[in-house]
């Protein structure tokens, strides 16, 4: 990606399409929202199963799948943000009030949040995958 020139995007190509995506405050919070959903999924499923059935959920593969899906969404959001945060155009340090700098800012923040959310999802998944009982 480093070698691509600012004007080298093929129209209709993946990168051009990513750059055309709209970013807003809502897209900024996609990665931490995925963390929150994953957290609630793990916590509620385990505690409801422990409370109502008195045993750890039998189908533990669901945690693997749920965690995989959550991480995949976070990585995708991060990858899109990575491309957008490198939108060519304005000169560094990218703290001006231009369209590109605003885009780069939200994208960079989304990327950082994706990193934090990735770590947090792994943290949450660890007990669900390792401690498989209700005591």
């Amino acid at each position: 990606m480093k070698n691509e020139s600012p004007h080298g995007d093929r129209p209709g190509g993946l990168r051009a399409r990513i750059l055309a995506l709209r970013v807003t405050l809502w897209t900024l919070i996609v990665p931490p929202t995925v963390w929150a959903v994953h957290f609630l999924f793990c916590y509620l499923w385990v505690s409801v199963s422990c409370a109502k059935l008195g045993q750890f959920p039998r189908f533990t593969t669901a945690f693997v799948i749920g965690t995989g899906v959550a991480l995949a969404i976070i990585v995708a959001a991060g990858a899109i943000a990575w491309v957008q945060s490198r939108t060519p155009g304005d000169p560094p340090p990218h703290d001006e009030g231009t369209d590109i700098d605003r885009l780069r800012f939200i994208a960079k923040s989304t990327l950082l949040l994706a990193g934090l959310s990735f770590v947090a999802v792994v943290f949450t998944a660890a007990p669900a995958l390792m401690l498989t009982d209700c005591r």
């Binding site: 385990v46 505690s47 422990c50 750890f56 703290d95 800012f105 949040l113 959310s117 947090a120």
Partner: protein, 842 residues
């Protein structure tokens, strides 16, 4: 208004005279208290919160004196219980959170180059609510009636009326009232940050303080409502005997702990982040450079906000929950250290890269970080469940939380006080006294709280009014007591410094040579907020934009005049701050104060079981609110558009998603929906706690499926009619729209009857068991919302008939439609839960 025109000094003087007249504060012994301008309301707010802090601090000194020596008898056990409960409750609810709101009310418009926040009267309402509720709660200790159950009020001791007195009601109702005012402030601040930024101040140019305010206000919106839901259940149990927390009747005291800590843990970050936000303003000023890593701060603020909602069970590690549940919360508690640490590294990096000007505010900043880091590290320790089992409810926790709160909230605020005092009064505080006060506070805080780690580990439980000499913690406690007095001397010195301020010389403008907008404030400040609303192209416009201060002062930017004699500010778009509207702001009025007094009377009279009087207060509150709305909102302007200078014309009226009022309604309803989800959580929580839920037996069979489904159908019909009324009105069919609003209101009223019919016809008896109690609660919540929905439909109908709402000027109907969307959602969840849940339909 071309650039050229502003060269004329006479024109400028005339403009200034008009602005001065428009923004003139009200006068008179009573009239002056009807002011709503943020620069006054914010100062009252700050002073009141500061006074409550001093009061709660004195309570702490009495406690420390009692604990100085083993077996001391300065105060009785009962008084001691009241002291620590009131100390904690006041510091949290009457100091830390209101102080954040107060400071934000003062600073935010300045930082955003706005003349005022979008809803000045709402700020005033929030202040008066806070004052009334605060005096009510704090004053209770003089009547030996203060709450005594600890600041988190765990049932069953607090819900059983034979074990706790009036104090528990005072806590619940007095603080619920203050929670309402906090949510009001959150609405104001969110809309303020998103919609009243100056033209050009895109999201990436926003001062970091504004980012933090936005994040914290959103956190309040999701954190406070679960507590309000908990308060509601709590009072239903105390006043009506509905057994939500009574294990003998199927209730569970743990539910309160969940609801309290879903609020209580984000709360810690709600009071911490605004203080860090002050650093984010001070550090660049004293490093004389842009803050490094702006997106990293946004990451930290947003990341902390999210993670902080996944921590609450770490206060409940010893309640016997499954270990696996503890592990999830332990994991999130460790993860939250990451963003917290990042912020501190950003500040260090900025200082490192800049040329540091040493100053008193900076001294406070560094000192507080040192204290906070110790609290943070013990936080990582107690986030590890096995360690917490040992330390829980000991003085180790007292040490931990005070390190966090003193380092993360109190001392940063002191630094902020020294930094921003010149902005508010035009005068600097004394560096000499300030630094002396700092060292007293720094040494005092460490001397008080560091020994508590050891007294806790040696076995001293928290909240005991005395301890035996054999425990061997006498020396440590004496050290803590001496430390608390040293700390108090530091605070006293700050008060002395503040008291001497009126006799000091004015300081020059922008005395710290800062780069952000708020320092445009002049030492001899005018009440208009800012002379002209600037175009922003940098994060530090005073440093970076050429002739910036002069251009603002000479009215060369936007909205330099008030020819129509109205208080105005510019509304801009959320992402890119393009001007979209000029709004007319509320003028001084006694309505906010009167409304707060009426609402306060509802809570206070309920405390004393004077229900009929409380009902009268509720009717008075409703009348005031309607009067306030009718006379002060969605006014049809005299012109379609207004010129704001530089050839820009923007509308004077907006409705729907681009207007401030619509956002306020949407945000308020988010809070409402969160409170509701707290109640729904209660239902499902009880389901997990019982093998047979819903239970069966006399008084417990119900509410059937028929009436809940009927109520749902009628509510949805009312919703559809409101949406249709909005659409027909916009297309000019006013008659049809009015008809639909009228019928819609009747449907809303019918939904009340149908909703209540379910539990009534099946004879659900709420004091018998928790199942009927929670069903009744969900139904009452929903039908109360139907009632409010009917009032809104009738209000809009009246507005249309009175010609205050037309097809073009339709903000009212668009706003109530938002309410009815949430209403429909509430009805769907309530009636699907109580009517269709397996076993509930029988």
């Amino acid at each position: 208004m071309s650039l050229h025109a502003q060269d004329d000094p006479q024109l400028r003087a005339d403009q200034e005279q008009r602005l001065r007249t428009v923004w003139a504060p009200p006068t008179g012994w009573f009239g002056r208290w009807t002011d709503v301008n943020n620069n006054r309301v914010g100062v009252w707010y700050t002073l009141t919160a500061f006074t409550f802090m001093l009061f709660a601090g004195v309570l702490a000194l009495i406690m420390r004196t009692q604990l100085a020596a083993p077996g001391n008898d300065l105060v009785s056990a009962s008084t001691f219980n009241q002291l620590f409960t009131l100390h904690g409750s006041m510091m949290m609810f009457l100091f830390a959170v209101p102080m954040f709101e107060a400071v934000a009310v003062i600073l935010l418009p300045q930082l955003l180059g706005a003349r005022d926040l979008p809803f000045p009267r709402l700020s005033a309402f929030g202040y008066w609510s806070f004052l009334i509720g605060g005096v009510f709660v704090a004053g209770s200790i003089f009547f030996n009636a203060a709450p005594d159950g600890g600041w988190f009020m765990y049932p069953p001791f607090t819900t059983r009326t034979d074990l706790s007195g009036l104090g528990a009601d005072i806590w619940m109702l007095g603080l619920s009232f203050i929670e309402v005012s906090s949510v009001a402030a959150a609405v104001e601040l969110i809309v303020g940050v998103l919609k009243t930024r100056p033209p050009g101040m895109r999201l990436n140019l926003m001062p970091l303080y504004a980012w933090y305010i936005l994040v914290v206000a959103v956190m309040i919106l999701f954190a406070f409502p679960p507590l309000i839901a908990g308060d509601l259940l709590f009072e239903m149990e105390r006043l009506l005997g509905w057994p939500f927390f009574d294990a003998a009747k199927g209730g569970d005291a743990i539910l309160w702990q969940h609801l309290f800590w879903i609020f209580g843990h984000p709360e810690v970050y709600i009071v911490f982040l605004p203080s860090i936000a002050l650093f984010a303003m001070m550090v660049p000023t004293f490093a004389q450079r842009h803050l490094l890593g702006y997106p990293w701060i946004v990451l930290a603020a947003v990341g902390t906000a999210f993670l902080s909602f996944g921590l609450w069970v770490h206060h409940m590690f010893t309640t016997g929950l499954p270990k696996i549940s503890l592990a999830f919360f332990s994991a999130a508690s460790e993860a939250v250290a990451i963003p917290t640490g990042i912020q501190i590294f950003v500040f260090i990096a900025t200082m490192w890269a800049g040329r540091v000007t040493w100053s008193t505010p900076l001294l406070y900043a560094f000192g507080s970080i040192a204290i906070f880091v110790i609290g943070g590290l013990t936080g990582v320790m107690v986030a590890i469940a096995p360690f917490d089992w040992q330390a829980h409810d000991t003085y180790f926790i007292v040490a931990h939380l005070h390190y966090v709160l003193i380092g993360g909230t109190l001392i940063p605020l002191m630094g902020g006080l020294y930094y921003y005092w010149p902005l508010i009064t035009g005068k600097k505080l004394s560096d000499r006294i300030g630094r002396t006060a700092f060292w007293f506070q720094f040494v005092g805080a460490n001397l008080t709280f560091f020994p508590m780690h050891f007294s806790g580990l040696m076995g001293m439980p928290r909240r005991v009014f005395t301890y035996p000499a054999e425990l061997g913690v006498g020396g440590l406690n004496m050290a803590s007591t001496i430390g608390s007095y040293v700390f108090a001397i530091g605070v006293l010195l700050v008060c002395v410094d503040l008291a001497r301020s009126p006799w000091r010389q004015k300081s020059p403008r922008n005395p710290w040579n800062a780069g952000t907008l708020e320092w445009l404030a002049h030492p001899d400040d005018e009440d208009w907020g800012i002379r002209s609303v600037p175009l922003i192209t940098s994060r530090y416009p005073i440093w970076d934009q050429k002739n910036f201060v002069r251009n603002v002062d000479e009215g060369r930017f936007f909205l330099p005049d008030a020819p129509e004699g109205r208080r105005e500010t510019i509304i801009t778009s959320v992402l890119d701050a393009r001007p979209v509207q000029v709004i007319r702001l509320g003028t001084p009025s006694a309505k906010p104060m009167a409304t707060a007094a009426a609402l306060g009377s509802v809570f206070i009279l309920t405390t004393y079981h004077l229900y009929w009087w409380a009902l009268a207060g509720a009717v008075a509150t409703l009348s005031m609110v309607l009067w306030w709305l009718w006379t002060g909102t969605a006014e049809i302007p005299e012109n379609e558009e207004k010129s704001i200078g530089h050839g820009l014309k923007v509308p004077l009226y907006c409705s729907g998603g681009s207007s401030a009022g619509w956002w306020a309604m949407f945000i308020t309803m988010m809070a409402d929906a969160t409170a509701f989800s707290g109640l729904v959580f209660g239902y499902y929580f009880f389901w997990t706690r019982h093998d047979d839920f819903p239970p069966s037996g006399p008084g417990m069979d119900g509410p059937g499926a028929f009436w809940p489904m009927a109520a749902l159908a009628i509510t949805l019909a009312s919703w559809a009619m409101t949406v249709a009324a909005r659409e027909l009105n916009a297309r000019g069919a006013e008659g049809a729209a009015r008809g639909l609003l009228g019928v819609g209101a009747l449907a809303s009223l019918a939904a009340i009857g149908a909703g209540l019919a379910g539990p009534m016809t099946t004879g659900l008896e709420p004091s018998l068991h928790v199942y009927p109690a929670i069903v009744w609660t969900l139904v009452l919540w929903t039908v109360a919302h139907n009632g409010v929905g009917a009032i809104m439909q009738l209000y809009t109908l009246a507005r249309s008939i009175a010609g205050r709402m037309t097809p073009r000027y339709d903000a009212d109907v668009r706003n109530i439609t938002v309410y009815h969307h949430f209403m429909a959602l509430t009805a769907i969840v309530t009636y699907a839960t109580i009517g269709l849940f397996p076993g509930a339909g029988s």
